[in-house]
């Protein structure tokens, strides 16, 4: 073991830059390390598609809740305590036998953090952001989701003014399942609209 084994390896330029921004803000007393840790921890532990899945499962089992969700999604989602950055101006779009909804953010990476966590890498990629609008049916097929030709695909461009969450159709043969069991079968991708359950 060498004396300097604790010294970090040389940082990549962007890594060093972010470290510099952090340290300057901390030294000035604008931010503190603990606050940053709490935010990261919150993303790890509390934010993710398991939250959106609970919302979907309730909408499947409670018609009054579903009505609230479709008319004021932000408020209905807040009933679970899911709120915070990127959680405002939520709009839930419902899949039906005739309509399949797909969510994208063409300009950056708007995504409902409280209900889905952080977006997957492909959601932020230029290819997804442009093709979801231009050729959604083809893109979905390439992602393994074939939408029947007679089903309309509606593409929703998330922004600061509206962040979309797809309410997937409840799969058949789930009549006996509890709300909790239903939540377990709802996937992240189904709530973005790149998958059908």
């Amino acid at each position: 073991m060498t004396a300097d084994h604790h010294h970090p390896a040389e940082l990549a330029p962007i890594e060093a830059r972010v470290a510099a921004i952090e340290s300057v803000l901390v030294e000035k007393g604008i931010l503190d390390i603990d606050t940053l840790d709490v935010i990261v921890q919150n993303f790890e532990d509390n934010l993710g598609p398991m939250n959106g899945a609970k919302v979907v499962a309730r909408a499947w089992t409670d018609p009054a809740y579903k009505e609230r969700l479709l008319s004021d999604a932000t408020a209905a989602i807040k009933e679970f305590g899911f709120e915070g950055p990127e959680g405002e101006f939520m709009v839930v779009v419902e899949n039906t036998p005739d309509v399949h909804n797909l969510v994208v953010c063409t300009l950056c990476s708007c995504y409902p953090w409280p209900t889905l966590g952080l977006p997957p890498k492909w959601y932020k990629a230029p290819a997804y952001r442009s093709r979801a609008v231009r050729e959604p049916r083809k893109l979905l097929a390439e992602m393994g989701t074939v939408i029947p030709a007679d089903v309309e695909i509606r593409v929703w461009d998330s922004s600061a003014e509206a962040r979309y969450l797809v309410l997937p159709m409840r799969p058949e043969a789930t009549a006996d399942m509890s709300e909790e069991q239903l939540a377990a079968i709802v996937t992240r991708d189904s709530m973005i609209g790149v998958q059908r359950l």
Partner: protein
């Protein structure tokens, strides 16, 4: 209490997929969230910059655009200057 360094195992996973590819990405995200909250700014104060940085260089890795947006925000808010960031020695800072 100082922040414990994040180990790879602690990186958030989403449907089995890593949300962050490296701990500095998590820090970059947390700084943007914490700063807008602390200063009472709308999230758009950061998001519009991120949009601009992505548009400027669409093929650049996402979190590098994020870092550039963060730098432009802190510099424009007069919280620091590019020269001060150049002078900051990251190895003396909290571990990333």
């Amino acid at each position: 209490m100082t922040g414990a360094p994040l180990s790879d195992a602690s990186l958030p996973r989403d449907n089995g997929e890593l949300v962050f590819e490296a701990p500095w990405q998590a820090r970059a995200l947390a700084i943007a969230v914490a700063l807008t909250e602390k200063l009472g700014l709308p999230w758009d104060a950061f998001r519009l910059r991120l949009m601009d940085e992505i548009a400027k260089d669409p093929q650049r890795p996402y979190y590098e655009s994020w870092g550039a947006a963060l730098e432009s925000m802190v510099v424009d808010l007069d919280l620091t200057s590019p020269a001060a960031l150049d002078a900051a020695a990251p190895t003396e800072r909290a571990p990333l």
